[in-house]
């Protein structure tokens, strides 16, 4: 692997919906094994950015390269096969199917049948839903469904994992567990996390990218970002300043 080629690189990425500019000239670079947090107020363009990375939206202009390979304009399933997995903001799970089936559908893509079941069991253990393996996902709590989705992403064994608000709707204990899982998978995989929960960000963050009005406003270490006056003004408000 050429160390000079970043895992993910976007250049001048722009997305317009009619007159609304959701992302404007976003140039973003992520290294192998990096853990990056994206923050920014609602409507800053974080989810739109994720949707372009996963082929759910085709950028108006600009390019995306995954390990140097251009992926701009590819279909979602083609990008997924290259090794980008995403947990979307609103849980995107198979509600009518069991927890085990949800994980299986992802696990079987990269494993031979013999190794699928052990992998599914391992993931169920990791997301602590072994006792609910047979339950229908639609009947679980919001936090549990978040974990089912995280589990399906992990089971696909992607090279890059995008997590859009993974801790939303979770209890404090579940949030801690999620942070633990994120640190654990970051041992071997690169992760980008979008989150609003600052306590959660502090648990996991090293480098933080701040989005504001569709653009990247700043990119720095967590402490520098939290100390920055502009960031406080646009996003963090008085809660952190106090």
């Amino acid at each position: 692997m050429d160390p000079l080629v970043p895992l993910l690189k976007t250049e001048h990425l722009t997305m317009r919906f009619g007159g609304v500019v959701a992302n404007d000239d976003v140039s973003f670079t992520l290294g192998e094994m990096e853990l990056r947090c994206l923050i920014g107020p609602n409507g800053a363009g974080k989810s739109t950015f994720f949707k372009m990375l996963t082929g759910q939206l085709t950028p108006t202009s600009g390019t995306i390269a995954f390990r140097g390979q251009p992926v701009t304009g590819l279909q979602s399933h083609q990008i997924a096969r290259l090794g980008i997995g995403i947990k979307t903001q609103v849980p995107n799970v198979f509600n009518g199917l069991s927890v085990r089936e949800n994980i299986w559908l992802s696990a079987r893509r990269k494993t031979t049948p013999k190794f699928t079941k052990p992998l599914v069991d391992e993931i169920l253990e990791k997301i602590r839903l072994t006792h609910l393996a047979g339950a229908t996902v639609g009947q679980l709590s919001h936090g549990q469904r978040q974990w089912v989705e995280i589990g399906t992403v992990l089971a696909g064994d992607p090279e890059l994992i995008l997590l859009d608000e993974p801790a939303a709707g979770m209890t404090d204990e579940e949030t801690h567990r999620t942070a633990e899982i994120i640190r654990e998978i970051n041992q071997t995989r690169a992760i980008v996390v979008v989150e609003h929960d600052m306590a959660f960000i502090k648990m996991i963050a090293r480098t933080v990218t701040v989005f504001h009005q569709g653009r990247i406003m700043m990119e720095d270490g967590i402490d520098a970002v939290l100390a920055d006056r502009r960031v406080r003004d646009v996003y963090l408000g008085k809660k952190v300043a106090a």
Binding site: T54, G55, Q56, Q75, S76, H77, A80, R81, G85, I86, T88, N92, V93, F94, N95, G96, L97, E101, W104, L105, S106, R108, R109, H131, L132, A135, T152, G156
Partner: protein
């Protein structure tokens, strides 16, 4: 119900169905047997839509397009070949290819579900009008005259495989048709248990998630649609074998709509439901047709409205849940499922 017990019961039910198909000619007079043959052929048609709608989430308003194409393909091929074996195979293959072509434009063109219904319905109408206007000597395929609105009379019926002289008796025709219904049912069960079937259900559940996991929803839906086309084509061949006749009314919209009613009544999302609904409604239709007091369309309408209001999930899912509830109440005493998960969750 524990899984092994349920599987044993299902196995016994299939054996029972096979035994029924085998012994029925001994007990029924020819007229009733012919009627059962028709029901079984329509049951195959019901399965074709029950599969793509219930498990692929694709509601086709024109399943009779493939049914009719299968019927005509069989008739034309049987007349030309003088042997029914390859004609049946063609009647499966051609509608499947037609479904592939139509499905390609629909699914790869990202046409929404409502328009899928409109397009399939329109295709049925087009086929009806095209075939309806093929009267005269100009419209022959090989030795088969398409005959326009008169249709194709005296189509050769099924013969023993590759032996054109051994034409099947009505009893053997029943065995083939009833056997085909059971075989299609079992093949669909196998298909649904295979990775393809499980992915198809996943695509029905959430297309976006399936794509984000690396599955191409368009391809999966196209595959499901082709299976539906192939099975509907087989049903068409069975239907033409039953009546030794095929006419353009095989593409009728009323039959297309009726299949949807069969499935709504029997139970969407099951395989046995569409067959149950199909036999039940056809039986009722036949009974009502033999008297003058009620109009059968009126009764059909009342049944549909009644089911949508009172049993929206259909007969089979409602019965299944009722039986499961009964099994729990009379079974060995144990904590209800919700309490058990809570205990497990607390550990």
């Amino acid at each position: 119900m524990p899984a092994p017990l349920s599987r044993l019961l299902q196995g016994l039910a299939v054996l029972g169905a096979i035994a029924l198909v085998v012994v029925l000619p001994t007990y029924l007079e020819l007229f009733t047997l012919m009627q059962m043959t028709l029901f079984a052929a329509m049951g195959v048609l019901a399965l074709s839509l029950g599969f793509i709608w219930g498990f692929g989430g694709i509601l086709s308003f024109g399943q009779t397009a493939f049914f009719g194409l299968g019927g005509y393909t069989y008739a034309v091929a049987a007349i030309n070949f003088g042997d029914s074996t390859n004609a049946i195979l063609l009647a499966i293959l051609f509608p499947a290819l037609f479904a592939a072509a139509l499905g390609y434009f629909v699914f790869y063109g990202r046409i929404s579900e409502v328009y899928l219904g409109v397009i399939t319905l329109t295709v049925t109408l087009i086929l009806f009008n095209v075939v309806n206007s093929t009267a005269g000597d100009a419209y022959t395929i090989g030795q088969a005259r398409l005959g326009g609105f008169n249709g194709i009379p005296s189509v050769p019926t099924f013969n023993a495989p590759y032996t054109p002289d051994a034409v099947l008796t009505p009893e053997a025709g029943w065995w083939v048709t009833g056997g085909a219904l059971i075989a299609v049912y079992l093949l669909m069960r196998l298909l649904l248990a295979s990775p393809f079937g499980r992915i198809a259900v996943a695509v029905r559940e959430n297309e976006t998630r399936a794509a984000l996991l690396g599955y191409d929803p368009r391809l999966i839906k196209l595959g499901v649609f082709m299976v539906g086309g192939a099975v509907a084509g087989l049903a068409g061949a069975l239907y033409v074998n039953w009546g030794a006749f095929v006419g353009p009314t095989i593409f009728s919209l009323s039959l297309s709509a009726e299949i949807i009613i069969w499935i709504t009544v029997g139970g969407l999302g099951t395989l046995i439901g569409p067959v149950v609904g199909c036999v039940l409604i056809q039986f009722l239709n036949a009974k009502i047709g033999s008297q003058q007091a009620f109009n059968s369309n009126l009764v059909l309408g009342v049944i549909l409205v009644g089911f949508v209001l009172l049993l929206p999930r259909g007969i089979v899912p409602t019965l299944r849940d009722a039986l499961a509830g009964l099994g729990r109440r009379t079974g060995p005493r144990r904590a209800p499922a919700s309490a058990r998960t809570q205990i497990a969750g607390a550990e």
